[in-house]
Amino acid sequence: MSDNISIKVTSCPLKLEDCYAFVEDPSCGGISVFVGTVRNQTKGKDVKRLDFSAYEPMAIKEMKKIAEESLAKFEISKIAIHHAIGKLSIKDIPVIIAVSSAHRKDAFRACEYAIDTLKETVPIWKKEHFESGEVWVNSHP
């Protein structure tokens, strides 16, 4: 993997400091970070926990593609995209995206582009567990 891209899919808790340390760079004027967190409600129903599963080798390829596209589209130096799988509780962190750039705008834009694209293309699925049962998110039209 190129030295300006960090991709990870893991069943261990994600570490903000790892992503931050990876993208830090002397040439950069800013670092933009998006941290996804598990919310306690969906459409008014209390969520107990989430369960994330992935088609791991393809997820890594798609995440790498997003990182490469981000580097091509925006004036950024480094990008980290880390995603957790397995059981996550309220406030846990399923995803972190960190981007460094010389000027802030490109870091903000790349960060938004990366999370928006991840939600559309990366083969990872979450199941929401409620008091009354469980449901695969997005699976019913």
């Binding site: 080798p57 393809m58 995803v95 990872i124 699925w125 979450k126």
Partner: protein, 80 residues
């Protein structure tokens, strides 16, 4: 023609399986294969809201399946 089918998310629940070996009578396109699945796997109960990936890359409807392909059934993703 032998292929491996991987099912994820809601599709692994519906099929009660996450990996199936299939022998196809003839070569098929991705769209033919989707029709074949919906027709032959009653457990899917008509569920057709999924994409296909071949060997870990999204495949459009006109792509042909080949011997020993790993064909993944990808329901709408919900990562992040």
């Amino acid at each position: 023609m032998n292929i491996t089918v991987l099912a994820f998310g809601i599709l692994s629940d519906l099929l009660e399986n996450d990996s199936i070996q299939l022998t196809l009578e003839k070569q098929m396109s991705v769209s033919d294969f989707k029709q074949y699945l919906i027709k032959n796997f009653s457990k899917l109960n008509g569920y057709s809201n999924f994409s296909i990936a071949i060997n870990e890359a999204y495949a459009s409807d006109d792509i042909l399946l080949n011997e020993n392909d790993v064909v993944a059934l990808i329901p709408p993703v919900s990562g992040g």
